[in-house]
């Protein structure tokens, strides 16, 4: 297993998340996809930390932990927004929520 394998895995994960965010209409699924992309980034942090010159400094896990914490908060806010949107529009379909356009 080399660094490249991890990076490719992270890239694939990122692309999956990205495609999900691009194509799905359900706001919740888009949130999932964003989380997947976030995790792809986290995987990169870990991989670069593990193969770095002095892994004992724990830069990677620190960043990752922070990112997960921020992501958790973000998901809480995002889900709350989704629920608020749902209450307002009676749907979470992103294509029908286009009042900004008018």
């Amino acid at each position: 297993m080399t660094l490249h394998h991890y990076l490719i895995l992270a890239a694939v994960l990122f692309c999956v998340g990205l495609m999900g965010a691009f194509t799905r209409r359900n706001a919740i699924v888009v949130l999932f996809s964003v989380e997947i992309m976030l995790n792809a980034a986290n995987l990169n942090f870990i991989a670069f930390w593990r193969y770095s010159d002095n892994p004992e400094l724990l830069h990677g896990p620190m960043f990752t932990l922070f990112a997960i914490a921020v992501a958790a908060a973000e998901v809480a806010v995002g889900l709350a927004l989704v629920i608020a949107v749902y209450r307002h529009f009676k749907t979470v379909d992103l294509e029908s929520i286009n009042t900004l356009r008018e």
Partner: protein
């Protein structure tokens, strides 16, 4: 004489005309006009006094610059010499007497003030004409007197005949004036000046030379000027207006159509006689005058209208003046003009008095027996008659004698024609007097003598008519240019014979006739119809006129058509511009087009703002990738 004093002579009556046209009261207007005329007469007599001593070829001139175009200056100005000095004195003096007479004659007329306005305007024009030192100024004044004549002939415009007579006079003199105007233009073209006397530079001093259409320029110019004189002085064939002009009030006939305005034509020829001499056209003047004299005297034989007889007599006498100018020069023609002015004014004023006394009756068949109720008028009228028929030792005798002597010396056929005209003159005047004065009255109303204000001028004029000729003969002949001819015995014999013979002939024809009841032996159809001159004009000029009217109407139609065409075209062009330019180009293309462009541009810009979240995300991604590629590429 300074310029101002000289200019005042015509300006005073002009001022009076302006004043009187604002007045309503006829008597006050008459006062103003007579006062102005009196002052003018005084100045004119002073001018005459000064001019009379001058040599015949000395001319005092006053030129005032009037119009300057480039290098060409046209001055207007006055001239004073014996010729117009005498004319001035005559015009103002007779004018004054007639003004006074008019204030009596017109006193019952509603528009008396207007009458004096016109009369003053006429006097101003006439005096300006006499004084003018420029053909242009002369022509202007010539037209002013024409207008005044028109206004005065048709003064009683409610009478259709008077209105028609005014028009006729105006239009027929216009035929002559056209020639006059062309003559002026030709003179200006050839010499570059219209000033008559200008210290050796004037038109009459340099005299136009050269040829035009193979004829001497001077001959052409003089004949054209003579055309104007023919129109104004009622010479054949433009004489037809003058008898009709008798529709105007009688003082007008006396002043304008006997003494002054009609003499303007003779004066014009006398004034410009150097041109006639240079062009050799004086025989034409003499012949036209002689034929006019004879034909008019002939027509006068058959007329019944008191004033019309006098009118034809005037035409005839004007013809004799032309003969005088043509055969013997200025002095002889002008001498007859001056004497004629007095006795013809007298005859007309006498006729006015008779007409007034007979309650506006003008037909001599309805007169008769006027000698007793109107003694002053009768005697004055007979004096005028004697002078007109050239009874020995009246003023007409002296002046006509000079003409006949001149004609005998230079042009014998003209002499015999003039003698025949004189014979006829005596016949028709005798006929008229026999109709009017002796016997019993044939009219409906009892005749009465006219008031003093009318008879006093008559008496004054009668004295002049009898005595003037003998008194001033030598003085006139000496002071005016021209050589009087030697008096042959035959001339004197013929002259006296035609006068006395004519009177005797008239007496023989009309002696003991029941006048007004049986046919008049002389009033045969051709004469009564005035030798069909009016019909001739109706058939020629009238036809031409009708033709001109038709052509004018057609032209008018054509113009209307062209106008409509133009309007339609303009409409089309306008619509084209409105639709194509305004609506299509500016509105649709420029304005709406721009707006649409802006709006679609706006739409294009707002398209990314579609509110579709995944879309935004995609854009972000694309942006990020692009950024990544950029960074990678730069590296």
């Amino acid at each position: 004489m300074t310029t101002t004093t000289l200019a005042l002579i015509p300006l005073l009556p002009l001022l009076a005309a302006i004043l009187t046209c604002m007045l309503k009261d006829g008597r006050r207007a008459a006062g103003v006009a007579i006062a102005a005329m009196l002052a003018s007469c005084g100045l004119a007599l002073a001018a005459f006094n000064e001019a009379w001593g001058m040599a015949a070829d000395v001319h005092t001139t006053f030129n005032i610059p009037w119009l300057t175009v480039g290098d060409t200056a046209i001055p207007l100005g006055f001239v004073l010499d014996p010729l117009n000095g005498a004319m001035l004195a005559m015009v103002t003096f007779i004018g004054l007497l007639i003004f006074i007479y008019s204030s009596g004659y017109m006193k019952d007329d509603q528009r008396m003030a207007r009458f004096f306005c016109y009369l003053s305007l006429f006097a101003a024009g006439m005096l300006g004409l006499v004084l003018a030192n420029s053909l242009l100024l002369l022509f202007m004044c010539w037209e002013i007197v024409g207008v005044a004549s028109y206004l005065l002939i048709s003064f009683w415009f409610h009478k259709p005949e008077a209105a028609a007579a005014g028009k006729k006079a105006f239009i027929i003199t216009r035929i002559g004036d056209m020639g006059f105007l062309i003559g002026i233009l030709l003179a200006f073209k050839t010499t570059g000046t219209l000033t008559l006397y200008d210290d050796g530079q004037g038109l009459l001093e340099t005299l136009p030379t050269g040829m035009i259409w193979g004829v001497e320029v001077a001959a052409v110019i003089s004949l054209l000027l003579f055309m104007g004189a023919v129109g104004k002085s009622g010479q054949l064939p433009l004489h037809v207006w003058l008898p009709d002009a008798m529709e105007g009030p009688t003082p007008v006939s006396a002043l304008i159509h006997a003494a002054t305005m009609v003499a303007a034509g003779v004066f014009l020829v006398a004034r410009t006689i150097p041109l006639f001499e240079a062009g050799g056209t004086l025989p034409v003047v003499a012949w036209v005058g002689a034929i006019t004299a004879l034909v008019a005297a002939f027509i006068a034989l058959g007329q019944y209208d008191l004033k019309r007889i006098l009118a034809y007599s005037t035409v005839s006498q004007l013809g004799l003046m032309m003969v005088g100018l043509g055969v013997a020069g200025v002095s002889v023609g002008m001498f007859h003009l001056l004497t004629h002015a007095f006795f013809k004014a007298l005859l007309f004023l006498g006729a006015g008095s008779i007409i007034h006394g007979c309650h506006e009756e003008q037909d001599i068949r309805k007169m008769g027996g006027l000698a007793k109720p109107m003694p002053v008028t009768t005697i004055a009228y007979l004096c005028g008659t004697l002078a007109l028929v050239a009874f020995p030792f009246t003023s007409g005798f002296f002046s006509k004698d000079e003409i006949l002597a001149g004609a005998w010396a230079t042009n014998q056929p003209v002499f015999w024609i003039a003698a025949a005209a004189s014979l006829l003159t005596a016949v028709y005047m005798t006929r008229q007097c026999i109709y009017v004065f002796p016997g019993t009255h044939r009219g409906a109303h009892t005749p009465h003598e006219s008031p003093c204000i009318m008879t006093v001028p008559l008496v004054i004029l009668a004295l002049f008519a009898l005595g003037l000729g003998g008194l001033v003969k030598d003085s006139v002949l000496a002071n005016l240019p021209g050589e009087a001819a030697q008096h042959e015995t035959i001339v004197i014999v013929v002259s006296i014979a035609v006068a006395l013979g004519g009177i005797a002939l008239g007496w023989l024809i009309y002696r003991g006739r029941a006048l007004g009841q049986e046919n008049d032996p002389l009033a045969v159809t051709p004469l009564e119809r005035k030798l069909w001159f009016d019909e001739l004009y109706a058939a020629t000029v009238g036809r031409l006129w009708s033709l001109a009217i038709i052509i004018a109407e057609q032209l008018n139609e054509l113009l209307h058509f062209i106008r409509d065409l133009l309007v339609t075209l303009a409409n089309k062009i306008g619509t084209g511009f409105a639709v194509g330019g305004d609506r299509k180009l500016i509105d649709k293309l420029a304005f709406d087009g721009m707006c649409n462009q802006l709006r679609s541009a706006g739409h294009a810009v707002t398209r990314p703002q579609h509110g579709f979240l995944p879309g935004y995300l995609r854009l972000i991604a694309v942006g990020a990738v692009a950024l990544g590629v950029l960074v990678f590429w730069i590296k």
